[in-house]
Amino acid sequence: MFRTLRAFAWMRWRVLMNSIERTGTRDTLERLSIAVEQIGPLIALGLMLPSAGLLALLGGYTGYLLPGAERVLPFNAIRILLALATGFCVLGPILLPTMERTSAVRLLLLPIPQRVLYIAQASGALSDPWLLLAVPVLLGIPVGLALHGALAGAAIAVLAGLALLITLVGLSALTAFALHLLVRDRRRGELVTLLVVIILPAIGLLPSLLMTSKTRAERRAERVARAERVARGDETRLERAARVGARAYTVLPSELAARATKSTADGDARGALMPLAGLAVTGLAFHGVAFVAFGRLLAAPGSSSRRQSATATSTRRAWIPGLSRAEAAVAHAQLRLALRTPRGRSMLISPLIVFAMFAALAVRQHEVELARLSLSGGLMLTAFSCAICLLSILPFALNQFAVDRAGLTLTLLSPISDRDLLIGKAVGNGLIAAMPAALCVMIAYAVFHDGPLALWINIVPGFVSTYAASAPAAAALSAVFPRSVNLNSIGRGSNAHGLAGFIGMIVMLAAGFPAAALTLVFTRIVGSPLLALVFVTVWCAIALIGSRLLFTVVAGIFERRRENLGLVVRK
């Protein structure tokens, strides 16, 4: 068994090293592109070492302070860190695209018992950064306790730490295997991915949305009133949910380990028994279920997906006013890619969810504050939503060629000029952004119906000018920094190249500045929304003409990078 585990550890190490050392680059620009992509992980790796050292010190210091102390601030910090690690054990396998450790088909061919295979696969979780960083903390605490003279406490803390690690490995394995079972069916997998893609940003937005501008005294009074309501048994549904959530927090594996450590540090070894037993049972349960899930994966590793049919059953020519057939065909293909991939669908749906959340709050509170941006009224909310629509397409727009994968080869083999291809792609991306934006505008106008009509109309040229001014840059960045992506994955696996994403975001914001500035000047200073509409429309025309001209320049860049693009998509 040891040899098997060693072989797996070596294999994972070589895969990591080969991904850094052997990039298969073919020219300087691609080398730069890959180097930039790897800077982030390398910096993270570099930061891990001092972080681990600091965490070990924190653990040791906490362990030293712990015996007999009523309230140890660093201990609370450690509890939060371990709770976060527990959370990442669930989120990590969902978000990270590198869940190769569950590639069951490959494993089936190995002459290794299922039990050993499970251990080899599950132990891969120990290389996850959140678990790697938990180890020094869990080691530091017993060392601190031992230095303080609480040797029994140190021994129990070692046990608690070990049990916690094993439990978290089980939790991580369970999530990964369950997820693989779930996504084995491509369509079900896509649905899950889409839900995660949509739900995660929404959860991220919640704190900002729920943040109120109440004073500390007001918040304290609210807390007191809430406590009284709880005492009377008169709490609201939200408060009850919060109370249940707080109780659930206490049975987290990290909390069980913390409680065991604290009890034993205080000399109450018996008090440590219950949480330790709870931790052991939890760990066993996680590993038991994960083992069953792993067994099911091995028993039927193939995809269970049925063939999916699209609605198209006849050859209907692509048509978009103002575009040639070839350009329209490219635009249609781009649009279909967005409609038929989880990442693409998320670009269409996420802005609508953000809009709906803000709209609901705007209706309730009449004013929403997000990062000091006061969104009063439907007009501002709609402008904000349109900006979100434009920003949400960046993963596609900034990697518009590589997202096609093998389809790009078909396009490159087709009798279509580079300029036509670029324009088709730009229109396709524009349509992807425009669809949710149009819905936002229509719904907001129907619901709020405030402000001058000229400003509502002004949103259209503002939106078009922003997109038109940024589209050539997006095409150029896509050609220079292509990235092979999987649009079924979420997070980094389907993102555009990091540098392209950064520059593209700045370009998009800069492209929106003229329209925003003109609108503000003519409404706030001159006081004429109509003039704002006129000038933004003029700017829109200039942006469209300029964009057309710029595409000729970008076509030159694309021509020089088309070979590299073809090679990247075949990786």
């Binding site: 699209a310 692509a318 057939r325 038929r340 093998a406 078909l410 087709s414 009798p415």
Partner: protein
């Protein structure tokens, strides 16, 4: 003699590797040209250069009398390609893929519909017309890629391993189709590892080894030229130097 494909000193390097090393190809128009070579010999790289996916490091090319470097769109209007990676959009259906090809080639809607139906029928893909390519098996993808290459009725077809992964029934139909394509004046440039297929279909062959063209010409001429070569396999092994390698004996097997 009219040449469908003509290259002079065609070279393509990747860093220090000369994947294609100064080859002079002459593929007669109306021929069925089998392009053979061991793994890594440079076959796919040559096709990629000829079809414009890769830019040659040096040398000249003419495809159907046109220079693909200076007039790539005109060349692409006249050729059909089944490349190594099959070149299909994962998230289009079979029918949408063919519609896309028809659109970029500017075919009339009625012509496109008729041809798409014929091709899907021939490839036994009619029932899968509305299925996403991502749900296709490898063989189905290959057939669709071939259908996409044939749809605009090109004068020259580049086929990179077209029979790999295709069932016997479809394979036979495709062979017949390719035969009739050549009989009507079309030219086929085909690479395949299945020498029996090349022997049965090709009128001409070219053999590449280590990036260099070691032989080309009518298949019968080459066979009679190589002393004692009774089959294409024998000829091929002689040309690529496979007969000089000592047989390997793995005693531990």
């Amino acid at each position: 003699m009219d040449l469908a494909v003509e290259t002079h000193g065609l070279t393509r390097t990747f860093g220090t590797l000369r994947a294609v090393d100064g080859i002079d190809l002459a593929v007669p128009a109306g021929s069925f040209f089998g392009f053979l070579g061991p793994n890594g010999a440079g076959k796919s790289t040559t096709i990629k250069c000829l079809t414009g996916l890769l830019r040659p490091s040096s040398g000249t090319m003419r495809i159907l009398g046109l220079d693909p470097m200076t007039d790539p769109v005109a060349v692409k209007r006249r050729i059909g390609v089944v490349p190594e990676d099959l070149a299909l959009f994962d998230r289009l259906t079979a029918l949408e893929t063919l519609t896309f090809v028809a659109d970029v080639h500017g075919l009339d809607e009625s012509v496109a519909r008729e041809r798409a139906n014929d091709l899907l029928d021939l490839m036994d893909l009619k029932a899968a017309g509305a299925t996403l390519v991502t749900d296709f098996s490898h063989g189905m993808r290959k057939k669709l890629s071939l259908a996409a290459a044939l749809l605009p009725a090109p004068r020259l077809l580049f086929l990179d391993e077209p029979f790999e992964g295709i069932d016997a029934v479809a394979s036979r139909q495709i062979k017949e189709l390719l035969h009739s394509f050549v009989e009507r004046g079309g030219t086929i440039f085909l690479t395949s590892h299945i020498l029996e297929i090349v022997e049965r279909l090709s009128t001409h062959i070219g053999v590449i080894a280590n990036g260099r063209l070691v032989a080309q010409g009518p298949i019968e001429e080459l066979r009679t030229g190589a002393a004692g070569a009774h089959s294409l396999e024998e000829l091929f092994i002689k040309l690529v130097g496979g007969d000089t390698r000592a047989p390997v004996a793995l005693d531990w097997i």
